[in-house]
């Protein structure tokens, strides 16, 4: 065997492998975001047992490494007679894990809104969910957006742990190519560029959204 050069073919292969990173991220955004909303709503529910269950869920997934969660989802499920393929195992793990973080970010921002607003809404005879939707969430969104999109970027980068169960996404492909070319600076430099190209637009979008909200906020303040 001889080592080869890191050429155009190697770079395109690396670039192509990013599609699995993108797909896995999209699954985590969609699944984790939707489930995260539910978790956040449960977390601030008026009923205590519901709150406890949601809190336990968040705590469990936030407190253990996703690497181990993934390992258990893929290999450990055999002990309960299941045998998901790598994609199913990764999709489930990333959805469940992202939901815990999204849920907690949403809840944190909601709770940062002064409690007086809840009481005021109550005085206006708004119900719990109405208050949440009409009064709290619009304000919480401003606090929620930067960490949410920050975490989305985090998800894109975290998908690299899927290489543990043999998914050849961007990071594992990089290792594969590095071991046959031994050009770590070129290989990982390219990988950094590709991740940056994936993540930066999201960060810019977040900044844009945040600025828009600020403008809206100022507008209201000036009127008042």
């Amino acid at each position: 065997m001889n080592l080869r050069e890191f050429g155009f073919g190697e770079f395109s292969f690396l670039l192509l492998s990013a599609r699995w990173t993108i797909l896995l991220s999209l699954i985590a955004f969609a699944g984790g975001g939707a489930l995260g909303l539910v978790i956040a709503a449960l977390r601030i529910s008026a009923r205590r047992p519901v709150r406890m269950i949601a809190a336990g869920y968040i705590r469990f997934f936030q407190s253990t490494p996703i690497l181990i969660q993934l390992f258990m989802a893929y290999y450990g499920t055999a002990f309960i007679g299941l045998s998901p393929d790598p994609w199913t195992a990764a999709a489930i793990t990333f959805t469940l894990n992202a939901a815990a973080f999204f849920g907690d970010i949403f809840r944190g921002s909601i709770e940062a809104i002064p409690h007086g607003q809840w009481e005021a809404a109550k005085a206006l005879s708004l119900r719990h969910l109405q208050t949440l939707r009409l009064v709290i969430l619009p304000q919480a969104l401003k606090l929620m957006l930067p960490p949410t999109v920050g975490f989305m970027v985090q998800i894109v980068k975290t998908t690299s742990v899927a290489s543990l169960i043999g998914l050849t996404e961007l990071a594992r492909t990089a290792t594969m190519i590095n071991t046959v070319t031994f050009e770590p600076m070129l290989v990982f430099g390219s990988v950094a560029l590709i991740y940056f190209a994936l993540c930066w637009p999201m960060s810019l979008l977040a900044l844009h959204l945040e600025r828009q909200l600020e403008v809206e906020g100022r507008g209201r303040a000036a009127l008042a």
Binding site: M52, I53, G56, F60, M72, T168, N178, T179
Partner: protein, 272 residues
């Protein structure tokens, strides 16, 4: 607020313990698999790792290639069924077998007694010497010369076990464990380590770097033998694999593979 937090912690902790117990006590389906089962199923599933050149890697067409891969394909040919590859990482090799993800593992699986408590090994189909590599300018002849030096190695390899023992016997050897071979060699080239433990094909890499010719093999640690891993309750498949490996060894196929991928001959392969 404080006690509520504690309560959710306890709840989540309890859930974790419960799920562990559930895992531990769940009924486990038994499926002893024979060679006939594989043939009638029409495919053999083999676990490989494509990040372990020259044994498992990708070729110019980005398809799996290497000593292990070609050997695995020959297993399929001999069985008369197509091979389905599943990719595993080093820590996933034993779980892949135990959880029925693969019929066998062909991935630089060194034959050791602790591993054999969990999976069964065929007789060796390949082997390599673990060696110590260092710059030519550094005088190293034995473990004693490594004292006061930073010695790099790849986590969990045979070199890891041997040099960790050496570090215990010779205080002052600093061991640095890397996750893959390419990182280890990069550390060597960057000067982050003074010496490294690696396979006897290790200089393929160093030769590519600008300072490649500055390195040399210092001394041999031990020879390791790679076997095919199968589940322990599978004596039928194991017997067939041993016979198959015996024939490939006799007709020179294994030696050819070694020259093709490792650029060096195989060490003599004992049987057990």
């Amino acid at each position: 607020m404080f006690t509520a937090r504690l309560r959710t912690m306890i709840a989540a902790g309890a859930a974790m313990v419960l799920s562990t117990l559930l895992l531990a006590t769940a009924p486990q389906p038994a499926a002893a698999e024979t060679v006939d089962d594989i043939i009638s199923r029409g495919k053999v599933v083999i676990a490989i790792d494509t990040t372990t050149p020259p044994y498992g890697m990708i070729d110019e067409q980005f398809q799996p290639a290497g000593f292990d891969i070609e050997f695995a394909k020959k297993i399929g040919e001999a069985l008369g069924v197509p091979v389905e590859f599943v990719t595993v990482t080093s820590p996933g090799r034993i779980p892949a077998l135990l959880t029925n993800r693969a019929d066998m593992v062909v991935s630089i699986f060194s034959i050791t007694a602790p591993r054999a408590l969990q999976v069964a090994f065929s007789i060796p189909y390949a082997g390599q010497s673990a060696v110590v590599l260092a710059p030519k300018s550094t005088a190293i002849k034995s473990h004693a010369d490594l004292v006061g030096k930073k010695v790099g190695l790849t986590r969990g390899t045979g070199e890891d076990g041997l040099l960790t023992e050496a570090a215990k016997a010779n205080p002052g050897i600093e061991i640095l464990r890397f996750d893959d071979y390419a990182s280890l060699l990069q550390a060597m080239v960057s000067g982050q380590i003074d010496a490294m433990g690696g396979g006897d094909y290790g200089d393929i890499y160093l030769k590519k770097s600008a300072k490649g010719d500055d390195f040399e093999m210092k001394y041999i640690l031990k020879t390791f033998y790679f076997g095919v891993g199968v589940r322990r309750d599978n004596p039928d498949l194991l017997r067939w694999l041993n016979t198959f490996i015996f024939t490939l060894k006799q007709d020179g196929t294994l030696e050819q593979l070694s020259q093709k991928y490792r650029n060096t001959p195989l060490p003599p392969l004992p049987v057990f």
